[in-house]
């Protein structure tokens, strides 16, 4: 980056650091923080959507739909989320490839499952093996977003269902007495008031989501954990910037990043709670 960085071996420590911290690989590390934040902010709305779907299904008047909602929202309580990540990602990946396989190569006669292998025709590979590297990464990231949304959507469904139930029943009866339809009741009475009850659960969920983002590494996305391991590993004298095993240092940086993120989120949620409880008939709202 700087001109004097041409020969790092001869630099004193301050200049050495300024060069070390501005190498191309270091910048990839810095950018990966963006990946994590992008995941958080992209998944959050999708999670809410999944959660809403789950909660609405559970409240539905159609019995099978209600069973589906119940199963979806209670599955995360019994099974570790990480198992769902591992499973959902492979299942989704294979599902997409299988559908493409059927539609793109109808003439293919060999079975997809051959003993221990999963074989689809080359055109059905997702992404295509000829695609550039970044397409693979974006696709991996996209799968991760769906996986996160699926798992945390189940948590959110639980929370939102509880919040719908918590809105005082007398209000709904009043609305019905006024002759509102079910849809109108939902829009005018239920939806605006449920947020107070949903917010503690949702903020909790957001914290869990933040703390689940390192799982991206397990899903093969080049996130901060990946780069911390990559850059922190001992570098021999063959490298331009030789150093010992610095992984502990890099992980401590990640620790600070996460502490800052959770601390900041807590602040924001405190404010939001004050805001939504304004005018509500709760302890927080009367003051």
């Amino acid at each position: 980056m700087f001109e004097y960085c041409a020969d790092p071996g001869s630099l004193d420590s301050l200049q050495w650091w300024s060069c070390y911290l501005t190498t191309g690989k270091q910048f990839m590390f810095y950018e990966s923080f963006g990946t994590v934040l992008a995941l958080l902010f992209l998944t959050a709305p999708v999670i809410l959507l999944f959660g809403f779907g789950g909660a609405m299904a559970r409240r539905s008047r159609v019995l099978p739909l209600r069973w589906f909602g119940l199963a979806y929202s209670s599955m995360v309580r019994g099974v570790p989320d990480i198992i769902f990540f591992m499973f959902a990602l492979i299942a989704l990946d294979q599902g997409i490839e299988y559908i493409r396989h059927i539609t793109l190569c109808p003439d293919w006669t060999e079975p997809v499952r051959q003993g221990n292998d999963f074989v689809v025709c080359p055109q059905a590979k997702m992404p295509l093996s000829s695609a550039p590297q970044w397409v693979h990464q974006v696709y991996g990231f996209f799968l991760a977003v769906i996986g996160f949304a699926f798992v945390f959507g189940a948590f959110a469904a639980n929370t939102l269902y509880g919040a719908f139930q918590a809105v005082p029943h007398a209000q709904l009866e009043t609305a019905a007495a006024f002759g509102m339809s079910r849809a109108k009741m939902f829009r005018r009475i239920l939806l605006p008031q449920m947020w107070v009850y949903a917010l503690p659960g949702l903020s909790n969920l957001w914290m869990i989501l933040i703390k689940a983002t390192p799982l991206l590494f397990l899903l093969g996305v080049q996130d901060i954990v990946y780069w911390a391991k990559e850059l922190g590993g001992a570098k021999t004298a063959r490298f331009t910037y030789p150093h010992g095993d610095w992984r502990l240092g890099y992980f401590l940086v990640l620790l600070v990043f996460y502490l800052a993120l959770t601390w900041l989120s807590e602040r924001v949620f405190d404010r939001l709670t004050k805001r939504v409880s304004r005018g509500q008939a709760t302890m927080g709202g009367t003051t």
């Binding site: 019994g78 990480i82 492979i90 299942a91 689940a212 397990l218 954990v225 959770t262």
Partner: protein, 269 residues
């Protein structure tokens, strides 16, 4: 037990290194998967039981320190809870592992000849001790926060009643405050125990290497998923195991919770 008998004798104790050394590579049967993943569950249960058990005591101490009037008790407790609860368990595992790996190296450098110390610190890089310490500290911090919240909401009337009959000091804590705290904290504490049980899947998967392929349930499940390219068998199996054990855990906790609440009138619970 004629079904799966061969697989059972080969792999039932594989996760702790007893039985067949080589994992199945070809012609993987349903039996292989069920037995080996079940064998791995031993590690999950081992971690969960010991971490929750020891964590209970540290959590009580930290919760009391957090509620203390003296800043040199309160601040460290607060900091401990903040750091552990504010960062991912995943990162904590990595940091602990890297730190534990560095310790013996430094130990050799600093005090040559003290072989005892280096031998002991080497255990820290093994999952059975190192990961257990991380899980123990993690659950302690979360539980301490729950206990602290419960401690703050112990009814004033209980404390006044204790004063009135002349209880004070440790006796008041043991007889009045502590049971009331546990009773109030119990539902959240049950959740935390479940979370911790589920978090044990991270041990071999993310940081501590599985030595001689002695891993936990998820380690074997992902091994099978890799080998067969078929996630639809191993993952539902491990999910089934976890559902069963989570149910057991919930039952156990609700039994204990009923004991804690046995003096309370049913309609007041």
């Amino acid at each position: 037990m004629s079904v799966c008998a061969q697989e059972f004798s080969d792999y039932a104790l594989r996760a702790i290194g007893i039985g067949e050394r080589l994992l199945p590579k070809h012609d993987i049967t349903l039996c292989d998967q069920f037995v080996l993943i079940g064998s791995g569950m031993m590690w999950n249960i081992y971690f969960a039981v010991l971490a929750v058990f020891f964590g209970f005591f540290l959590a009580t101490a930290v919760a009391l320190a957090r509620a203390s009037d003296r800043w040199f008790f309160r601040l460290p407790a607060k900091a401990f809870i903040f750091v552990i609860r504010g960062s991912p368990l995943f990162i904590q595992f990595f940091i602990a592992y890297e730190a534990f790996v560095l310790i013996p190296k430094m130990g050799i450098d600093i005090n040559l000849g003290f072989t005892e110390i280096t031998v002991e610190t080497r255990w820290l890089t093994k999952a059975w001790l190192g990961a257990l310490i991380v899980l123990f500290l993690n659950t302690s911090a979360y539980t301490a926060q729950i206990f602290h919240g419960a401690l703050m909401s112990v009814p004033k009337g209980d404390l006044e009643a204790a004063d009135a009959i002349g209880l004070s000091g440790f006796k008041k804590f043991r007889r009045i405050v502590f049971p009331a705290m546990l009773r109030l904290a119990w539902p959240s504490y049950t959740n935390e125990a479940i979370f911790l049980f589920h978090a044990t899947t991270l041990v071999f998967f993310s940081s501590f290497p599985a030595w001689r392929q002695k891993g936990d349930a998820l380690y074997y499940a992902s091994y099978f998923a890799d080998k067969t390219f078929d996630p639809f068998i191993p993952y539902p199996i491990i999910a089934l195991y976890f559902v069963i054990f989570t149910l057991l855990l919930t039952l156990l906790f609700s039994f204990a919770g009923r004991r804690l609440n046995r003096h309370i009138r049913k309609d007041h619970q």
